[in-house]
Symmetry: C2
Subunit: 326 residues, 2 copies
């Protein structure tokens, strides 16, 4: 059955890396229909919104969405889109790829980030000119959902260790609910895991990332810690991500729109192609997912490289090499 | 004039490192009177509270407080004490010390962390069994105070670069107030600075800590990012900190109570002694502060080392070596 994929390139290099990922998906001979959606700075300038209702509708109705990159308006684009696909989990693998220098190449872990609440629930008030508040929301239901998802993910991926991140020594009621719920779920599923305070975890991740495997985390902590882990493996450049809901999902590279090189045709499409591989796995096609990942890694190891990795290949040359490896 | 110093050893190695720091301060021939305050696990077991009112009173009335370390009850001890001294700024230098391996020895930066609000203002509610909220508080007044303090600190320490950390793309009203206030203060003080999103900052700190110098940050972000930076220089073991108020202050090593080695007399007292050096500077005695710091560094470089740094010296032997260097 044909799957409809919303393809939203967004800003800057999003326009270059998304077509590369689509080329790879099309080479797999699966029945995808790609429908392009508009979003980004240029759309904002023309239409007064960076994310037209039509694009949101497209993401809601599609079987999945591929998103390229966003610039300064990222929060106004990506947060509503994550809501549109009702993504409760943001899955962010951080590992070192061949040919990319990082301070901790032994890093190989996955963040399973709660994607709907915490400070992102975002009920803010200006109480006076001088006093502002934000209501951080944690529910048992959402905590249960992310714990179940994270523990299942760990099981499916033969993870050695599961860590539940929190700051319940300060946020006793809210993160207390988060960790208590995770403990309940772990008991029901008969899963072993550790708890870690996010500050101590930040330090340990820098010193011994090899000790971690799957990290289940509240929303903002996941945002910060996954960028930290990206730093360990040489930056955001290579990292894919999945925003997963019950019936829909959105896949995006973790990197931004890279305005400095946008339009030159030299963007590294690896993170976008690896995000497409996560989409294949979301559709249950683990084999093709793995094929794509292997192809990208082989090219990173031996093939033409884009300038960010010290080579002089274009996006197209890199993508062609991946297509050949498939 | 005699200065009264509340000396609260707390738990574990706090009992060993605080006396070492007092030995160093006494060798300087300044007019300090140390009054011991009780806090910690044992106190909790005997008295039903880890921080008796008497100790809080002592910290409030003293000219400054030296705090050793806390265990699991840390939040119930250190947060009230920071309130008692009305500390609005938590100053945390992170740099590599001689003899300590770190992934990024070029790190040399200081966090100036807002110490009173954000999620630590901590108004939490269980709205239902399943729904918990926390009210994150940001005021212009506290934001102004930390920006002024941070910018002055940067000026006094000839900082090359000031960074204001925030997540105002998501917490638009609260962190919006934080960054807008910092911008106002910068204009009044004619100071140049950059803004950085805390997630991007986490990544850049891991990759290029040498690019940063003074980082002014909201409370929880400062908690996480300063531990991250500790990881870059080999862990919390060496890092001192100051909690500074208008008329009072508290100085504490960033490390914990290290129950695994507590009581053996082998704890590394460097962070505590360096915290005492920060106290000297707080009292305006920059020269003695620098003398103490130099002495610690000389011993770390050439002298006896405690086991955490691969040596077999005791806390006392290390401290004696520092005393000799003074
Ligand atoms: C753009 C921003 C709103 C977003 C987030 O905070 O989730 C980004 O940092 C990310 O991690 O995808
Ligand atoms: C113990 C805890 C409450 C404290 C904090 O969160 O501030 C600690 O992590 C610190 O950084 O001193």
């Amino acid at each position: 059955m044909t799957k409809e994929i919303a393809a939203i390139p967004g800003d800057g290099i999003g326009q270059e890396v998304l077509p590369a990922a689509i080329d790879v998906l099309e080479a797999l001979d699966r029945d995808f229909e790609f429908v392009e959606g508009r979003a980004g700075n240029a759309v904002y300038e023309r239409e007064g919104t960076p994310l037209p209702e039509e694009t949101r509708e497209l993401a809601r109705e599609a079987d999945a969405t591929l998103f390229g990159a966003a610039g300064e308006l990222a929060a106004d684009i990506i947060l509503p889109l994550r809501q549109d696909v009702e993504a409760f989990a943001n899955v962010r693998p951080a590992r070192a790829y061949p040919g990319v220098d990082g301070v901790k190449p032994e890093t190989d872990l996955v963040f399973v980030r709660e994607n709907t609440q915490g400070v992102y629930a975002g009920i803010e008030s200006d109480l006076t000119d001088d006093v502002a508040t934000l209501t951080r929301l944690i529910t048992g239901e959402a905590s249960r959902k992310i714990a179940e998802y994270g523990f299942e993910y760990a099981d499916e991926h033969d993870a050695d260790r599961i860590t539940v991140a929190h700051k319940a020594n300060v946020m006793r009621t809210t993160d207390g609910l988060f960790v208590d719920t995770a403990a309940e779920v772990a008991e029901e599923m008969d899963v072993e895991y550790d708890e870690a305070l996010i500050d101590a975890l930040a330090m340990h991740l820098v010193m011994h990332p090899e000790d971690y495997d799957v990290i289940v985390t509240p929303n903002l902590a996941g945002d910060v810690l996954s960028d930290l882990a990206a730093g360990l493996v040489g930056g955001l450049g290579m990292l894919p991500s999945a925003n997963v809901g019950d019936d829909n999902a959105l896949f995006e590279p973790v990197h931004g729109s890279a305005p400095d090189i946008a339009g030159e045709g030299i963007a590294n499409p690896s993170a976008m192609i690896l995000s497409a591989a996560m989409m294949l796995e979301y559709f249950g096609d683990d084999e093709d997912g793995q094929r794509v990942r292997n192809a990208v890694e082989t090219v990173l190891e031996d093939g033409p490289r884009t300038p960010d990795l010290g080579g002089d290949a274009s996006t197209e040359e890199f993508t062609d090499a991946v297509l050949e490896e498939l």
